[in-house]
Amino acid sequence: MACNYEEDVPHVLAVDDNLIDRKLVEKLLKSSSCRVTTAENGMRALEYLGLKETHQQNNGSKVNMIITDYCMPGMTGYELLQKIKESSVLKEVPVIIMSSENIPTRVNECLEMGAHKFMLKPLKLSDVKKLRHQLTNVEVEKR
């Protein structure tokens, strides 16, 4: 019924310090049939994922994908990616890095750190739909 459908809808954590971009990425993901939680910076994202607390309020297992901006104050998207890859609970969760700047060294360092994809901002609906489609395939391959 309704609850089963909920479980099939991917849950995405979207991280961006820019309010407009946050609203946009949320809508892009919702329009691609995803459930979305947003965070305004890396710290908040880690808190949500349960990587900051010792007593587990662990939402990590409920997140199917993380999409994060690269340029953020405090903790960059790269640093967030690093922390996620260091976590035994979360390292399998695909992480997408978004950036407005197409800098080859930046792209490479993110991919080498294990980012699933590097996407240029501003994102288009077709990009996100394609991503959503790939996400389903990634999950199917795992079974």
Partner: protein, 152 residues
């Protein structure tokens, strides 16, 4: 020609001119694609957020450039934000000024920065006025009982 058709024609012509004159780029079309029955005011909501955010950023930039010892990293951080949000909503001319602005920040060129701030402000005011006019036209069409034409 009835009132609705006339308004719709006006809307199409106005929108087309905004793209042609470079005020808007394809990203604005992307925003419109995201609007649907579940979110019928999406474009207006995002653009309103952009207006509020822009005004804060412009004020912050003015303050930052008035300091005795200018922190160009801070100035650049604000411009980066402005570039990001203007790019995200398709405000092409604002974004283009931000690109030049960032170069001046890198060079720590105060005159260049001051000039760009003025240009950014001007372009922001222009796009704000034009988008408000566009939304106004949409409202008129809807109130007259018509539907807003889909642009490409």
């Amino acid at each position: 020609m009835d009132a609705i058709t006339q308004l719709q024609r006006q809307f199409v012509e106005y929108t087309t001119s905004l793209y042609r004159e470079g005020y808007l780029d394809d990203q604005f079309t992307q925003l419109q694609k995201l609007q649907d029955e579940s979110n019928p005011d999406f474009v207006v909501e995002v653009v309103t957020l952009f207006f509020e955010d822009s005004e804060k950023l412009l004020n912050n930039l003015a303050t930052a450039l008035q300091q005795e010892n200018i922190d160009y990293k801070q100035v650049d951080a604000h411009v980066h934000q402005f570039k990001g949000s203007s790019s995200s909503i398709g405000a092409q001319r604002v974004k283009n000024v931000c690109v030049v602005f960032r170069n001046y920040c890198d060079e720590k060129n105060l005159d260049g920065c001051v000039l760009c701030l003025q240009q950014a402000k001007n372009e922001y005011i222009l796009i704000r006025n034009k988008l408000e006019a566009l939304f106004n036209l949409e409202q008129q069409i809807l109130q007259a009982g018509g539907s807003v034409p889909m642009m490409a």
